[in-house]
Symmetry: C2
Subunit: 186 residues, 2 copies
């Protein structure tokens, strides 16, 4: 991938997250990305398509982080017995900790473009949430559908709480709750 396109995507994600999708203009985005307007339109047909690529990239990175967390790590014997849900919560906490706390970028996209449910951005977000549920379900098949939804509720709640309390506090409470609710089964 062109390094210009890389710059554009990274900068776009930061600016969308910081300002919102409608609030930020393409002029500011290409300015901060140090590219020309036509370079953006050479890579993406429209602002909507840029947004969707940003979201797809972000989903890939987030899922990678969750996936890494549940992949067995032989060097960490004592944590191996930790429940899978607690490990997922820790991975989500790690995700939050390095970043600005401005909510879930996917939900924010759905909120801004959701006036009609058939909008491609909305469908992308709905797909993301479905894939996340399916991933959690498959990560621990012993858990019920209700437990899957409860972990989703906790992860979303931590992301939202971080917006007012900061990521560290939100992460701490997320892990505390997850440990009480989803301690190891055996």
């Amino acid at each position: 991938m062109s390094s210009k396109k890389e710059d554009l995507l990274r900068t776009s994600e930061a600016l969308f997250y910081q300002n919102g999708f409608h609030a930020i203009g393409l002029k500011k985005i290409v300015g901060e990305s140090n590219i020309a307007m036509m370079t953006l339109y050479n890579h993406f047909a429209s602002k909507d398509e840029l947004i969707m690529e940003v979201l797809n990239r972000r989903e890939r990175q987030y899922m990678e982080q969750l996936n890494f967390a549940i992949a067995a790590d032989p060097s960490e014997r004592k944590k191996i017995s930790e429940s899978i849900y607690v490990r997922l919560a820790r991975a989500h906490a790690d995700w939050m900790n390095g970043r600005a706390a401005r909510g879930c970028l996917f939900l924010r996209a759905k909120e801004e473009y959701g006036e009609d449910a058939s909008h491609p951005i909305v469908q992308l977000v709905d797909g993301h949430k479905e894939r996340l549920k399916a991933f959690i379900q498959s990560a621990d098949s012993e858990r019920t559908t209700s437990e899957v939804l409860q972990l989703c509720l906790l992860l979303e709640g931590a992301t939202a709480l971080a917006e007012s309390e900061g990521p560290e506090i939100a992460a701490r409470e997320l892990i505390a709750i997850t440990e009480r609710l989803f301690a190891d089964l055996q």
Copy 2:
């Protein structure tokens, strides 16, 4: 209060919640409100001030609902022993159940106007979250600060989960978690 102003505030809240603050224009708002543009500017100095009045109204209504839930109801003897946190969770579930599921309007406002932290809208939202914490703390003084934050996390999580799963499912899981975590103390 003028009935035109009432109409305007009610319509504005619905449109802001449905579309987002930047995404909806004042032309559409006055159109749907059946008022003239100058009537809006007769009541509010700017769009920002309209937004802040909408948010203040919403906070008043939400807090009223929470307050009603913990006020002792002598006709409901069997529920009187229910923990205060569970009753707050039920009140939040009731709040969600009648409404469209588009997240927390306060956090959305902060997300859209939060590029600088001194923006009046951001300060209003921060104040709202602080007041909510203080209310929960004072509603059950036996609980620790950490437990206050945990209930906040659950309420925020339910609001977010409702955006993908619907309010009924989110409400059900919120109450299930709250009952497990915060059953009555005695």
